[in-house]
């Protein structure tokens, strides 16, 4: 039998039952690889329930630094009988299967083309540990020990991690280390370790990762830190997966970093609202009153917030919203990832509205863009929506370290204080003094005589007086468009990489690929795969809406541009069609919307198919046929 080979380049997947403590053991595994200096990206695939249902943990190891999903599984660790049949079927030919053989494997689960490693996990734990809870829990650690031997993980790193993890609860270290050792020992004694797929310390061929001293963290924590560093003082929210941990992390850091040293009081307020409408209302009220305020939510919450988003747009109130996207529509799949709130966010609320969106792709960007969101919100006096997703928000992602420039100054935008008001001859809240569509605002309580005005979601003239005159209305909403235009040069510009060189290109067409957020990593990988096959594809990673001018150029310069995204309807493609002047022939959709993050293989396959068709008719690249 041919076995899969490879050093620092494979996919391991764990199949567990949720509520059994597997997540932390699996994390131990991934973190150890990270500590070995090897690019790794773990993903938790969990059900929308608390206990007893199937859950998976997929770990991509890639010396080239590919952090997206590749597709396929090389080594499967399955301790969940509910899903074993499918899990075994999912293994690549030549792959490996680790399982609890306390009970023998059913004969129909035998495949000829994979290698089986039975470990009597239950039996070993029953024998070794007395407390039932530990018997259950430490099974997970035993298999981690075993695959550490199979894959050649440095054992001391695992021990160090356990020591770190149980600091303060030293009593727990011993049984955990024991369990690790049991697994390790069992594997070395019973299997020929290491496998043809294995790890090698420091095996990192990705220069950008090697150089930057990467960290391993999830996007939600990074966004929360962004809110801390960006000076957010008011957070209002309503619990919803997968955005809840943004506020959990904000709360944790705020408790540590935002206590007034003199009084012990809090330089922040966190309000768990009664629902998302209220959460957004609180943020609107705080933003109006000059505090940096934000909320975090997911799908259903975004829908509920839409009336308030329209108010904030039209009344011009700074608001920051972190939308950690999950699978829609409706309740959809709450614990699955998608990029499918794009149109709902961009055009949230009735009437003519357009909202500014940011698309982070890494924890580092979650941090940076959250800081930036507060600046943009105050500069443009409008909602800024950060479009993260479950994949980025809730998984540990290798990321360049967070960086902070101590010279950073908050951009509070055009706010007139009492002094400024004294010098202003005539204050009109909606006068476009600078011609950029952005007007000057004042905060309540600023000045005894000047600058007070009425904020409203209804039409007004430039002096903020209620008005139903068509001219006033049109002047105002046209200015809002002007403001949106101004924003184009303030928002993060798209990223282009130097094109991959291809010796003998197979296509005469100039090909491009557009993507954003969590589609970026697998997209880059797919592009490199295709480059090797003779298809040079230029890339552009979008980072914000409104789109930068360079997007138009990019599209103009290419014959076909693939828009890679994780939703059914090609929403980013639609947004581009709406906002840029592009022939639809040029934009071909590459889509995945199964709820599980898109893989490099899926992207490459779809592009390959499209390129095959291309010779016949470019118009066919329209998503309906791709």
């Amino acid at each position: 039998m041919k076995q899969i080979k490879g050093i620092n380049d494979f996919v391991v997947k764990f199949a567990n039952v949720n509520g059994t403590g597997s997540a932390s053991a699996n994390h131990l595994f991934a973190k150890a690889i990270f500590r070995m200096g090897i690019p790794v990206s773990p993903r938790n695939i969990f059900p929308s329930n608390i206990q007893g249902l199937p859950t998976w943990y997929e770990v991509r190891v890639s010396s080239k630094g590919y952090l997206g999903r590749r597709g396929g599984v090389d080594l499967m660790v399955c301790v969940n009988p509910q899903t074993m049949e499918q899990d075994i079927a999912d293994i690549e030919p030549g792959g490996y299967f680790v399982y609890d053989n306390t009970k023998p494997l059913a004969p129909h689960l035998k495949r000829d083309d994979i290698t089986y490693f039975g470990i009597p996990l239950t039996e070993m734990c029953m024998r070794e540990f007395k407390v039932p809870r530990l018997q259950q829990l430490l099974k997970n650690v035993v298999y981690v020990g075993a695959i550490a031997a199979l894959l050649d993980i440095r054992f001391s790193i695992l021990k160090d991690l356990l020591n770190d993890q149980f600091k303060g609860k030293e009593k727990l270290i011993h049984p955990n280390v024991r369990a690790l050792e049991m697994g390790y020992q069992f594997a070395t004694e019973n299997f020929s370790c290491p496998l043809p797929i294995r790890l090698e310390m420091g095996g990192n061929d990705a220069p950008h990762i090697k150089e930057s001293n990467h960290i391993l963290m999830n996007g939600n924590t990074a966004a929360a830190l962004g809110a801390i560093y960006g000076g957010a003082t008011v957070a209002a929210w309503y619990p919803i997966t997968p955005s809840t941990s943004v506020i959990d992390a904000f709360s944790k850091y705020a408790q540590r970093m935002r206590i007034d040293p003199g009084t012990g009081k809090k330089n922040f307020a966190i309000l768990q609202a009664e629902d998302e409408i209220a959460a957004m209302g609180i943020v609107v009220g705080a933003g109006w009153n000059g505090a940096r305020a934000f909320t975090a939510t997911s799908g259903p919450g975004l829908s509920l917030m839409s009336e308030f988003l329209g108010l904030a747009y039209f009344a011009e109130v700074p608001v920051v919203l972190i939308d950690v996207q999950r699978s829609g529509p409706s309740t959809g799949m709450p614990t699955r990832s998608q990029q499918s709130d794009i149109l709902a966010a961009a055009y949230a609320s009735h009437g003519d509205t357009k909202h500014m969106l940011l698309f982070p792709a890494t924890p580092r960007e979650c941090f940076d863009m959250t800081v930036q969101a507060f600046d943009l919100a105050e500069r443009f006096q409008t909602p800024i929506i950060i479009m993260s997703d479950l994949d980025l928000g809730m998984n540990d992602v290798m990321s360049p370290p967070l960086e902070w420039d101590d010279d950073y100054e908050m951009d509070r935008g055009k706010v007139l204080d009492a002094e400024a008001l004294d010098t202003v001859e005539k204050f009109g809240r909606y006068l476009d003094v600078d011609g950029d569509g952005i007007c000057y605002r004042t905060l309540p309580g600023t000045h005894p005589d000047k600058g007070a005005f009425f904020t409203r979601g209804s039409s007004k003239n430039e002096m903020a007086i209620y008005s139903e005159r068509g001219e006033d209305y049109v002047r105002n909403v046209d200015r809002l468009l002007r403001k949106f235009e101004t924003a184009k040069s303030y928002v993060p510009e798209p990223k282009t990489h130097p094109p991959v060189e291809v010796k003998k290109p197979k296509s005469r067409k100039k090909l491009g690929a557009l993507f954003f957020g969590t589609s970026a990593s697998p997209a880059y990988e797919a592009v490199e795969m295709l480059a090797e096959e003779g298809y040079p594809i230029d890339t552009m990673r979008l980072r914000a809406f409104p789109f930068h001018k360079s997007l138009d150029e990019f599209i103009r310069e290419h014959d076909v541009v693939f828009v890679i995204e994780q939703n059914r309807d090609g929403q980013m493609r639609q947004l581009i069609m709406n906002e840029c002047h592009v022939s639809p022939d040029k934009l071909a959709s590459v889509l995945n919307y199964s709820g599980i993050p898109i893989t490099a293989r899926t992207i490459a396959n779809q592009i390959r198919q499209a390129l095959d068709l291309e010779s016949a008719n470019v118009v066919k690249l329209h998503p309906e046929t791709v």
Partner: protein, 349 residues
């Protein structure tokens, strides 16, 4: 347009402790119907702020949507105002209040705005005890959308639409009481003497102060059959006059059933109550509730200060907010800097 701003100021207009004349508390010309109860509430708020010598720019006015919610334009023109969306002013006020604990917040709402679409937010606003005065200009109907019954319309009352309300009206004051509001009052828009001191007391109260003001809609609900019409209301009023005296003017201190009670508020100011009936105690939530229920059963509207807990803890305290307003904090207080971030990075390797 029932309320006109004086064109010029009398040179000898009386001034308050801060030197402001009453005109400094004026707003724009009202665009409500002539005779609308809501305009009297605007006037009462203006007068209360003048009498309590509150600097107008230190007040923030918030409202939802409705005729009642329009009124903040018609008083306190030197204060910032926010006419938000229908029924959701409570959340906006909550956010505003935590952002700057130093301002005085007046929320103006209608019965549609509060008792229908706003019910959820109202209950939770009470629960959080946001430091603000929340006024409902209660006319039992949706004025701005032309007079449909609201959820406070009394059972059997008849709107301009003709058919009698088939549901029991929601009593916002008893709801507020049950949900733990620390200041609950009710009054009548035409009763200036009772209203002004109530508003002043509410503004002085450190916590959530609720005033349910029966405020007849002359256009849509002022006719026989509607128990919230002028005629009906007048007949059912059981007035509990109340006088407000800021500390420096304190006059009365005694309180016995049938007489007057002085209650010291959190900011040190004192309010004086005249207790109309022996059974009503403003310091006992359950008894207050029962008095209200009893009056209600007699189809009477009990007015006055109905309940007061001066020792309440408002949201700013519950959240242990810093004494400096959050919106005034700068980089130094808020941003932990690069050293801290580097150590966080360290912990993530």
């Amino acid at each position: 347009m029932s309320y006109f701003k004086p064109k010029f100021r009398h040179p000898r207009l009386p001034v308050n402790a801060l030197g402001y004349t009453i005109a400094d508390y004026d707003g724009s010309i009202s665009t409500l119907c002539a005779g609308c109860g809501h305009d009297s509430i605007s006037t009462a708020i203006r007068n209360a702020c003048f009498l309590s010598s509150i600097p107008p720019h230190r007040i923030a006015k918030l409202s939802g949507i409705g005729c009642s919610s329009k009124t903040p334009t018609y008083f306190l023109g030197r204060s910032h105002g926010f006419n938000s969306v229908h029924g959701r002013m409570p959340s906006v006020a909550t956010g505003a209040s935590v952002a700057n604990r130093d301002l005085i917040y007046i929320g103006l709402s209608g019965d549609g705005d509060t008792a229908s679409i706003g019910m959820g937010q109202f209950v939770h606003l009470i629960r959080r005890n946001v430091n603000m005065t929340y006024i409902v200009a209660n006319n039992g109907c949706y004025g701005l959308t032309k007079g449909q019954d609201s959820a406070t319309a009394d059972f059997g009352s008849v709107s301009k639409y003709g058919s009698p309300t088939p549901f029991e009206g929601i009593d916002l004051a008893s709801l507020a009481l049950l949900q733990g509001a620390s200041f609950v009052a009710r009054s009548f828009s035409g009763d200036k003497e009772q209203l002004e001191p109530l508003i002043r007391a509410a503004m002085a109260h450190q916590g959530f102060a609720f005033i349910d003001i029966v405020s007849p809609c002359v256009t849509f609900a002022n006719h026989v059959g509607s128990t919230k019409s002028y005629a009906a209301t007048r007949a059912h009023l059981e007035a509990m006059p109340l006088d407000f005296v800021p500390m420096r003017e304190e006059i009365r201190t005694q309180y016995d059933p049938g007489t007057t009670q002085a209650i010291t508020l959190h900011d040190g100011s004192v309010i004086h109550l005249h207790k109309a009936s022996d059974s009503h105690q403003t310091d006992d939530r359950n008894k207050a509730l029962m008095s209200m229920q009893a009056a209600r059963e007699e189809k009477k509207i009990l007015t006055g200060l109905l309940y007061l807990d001066p020792n309440t803890q408002d949201l700013n305290h519950t959240l242990e907010l810093a004494t400096r307003p959050l919106n005034s904090l700068g980089k130094d207080e808020l941003c932990p800097g690069s050293r801290v971030l580097n150590s966080i990075n360290e912990g993530l390797r």
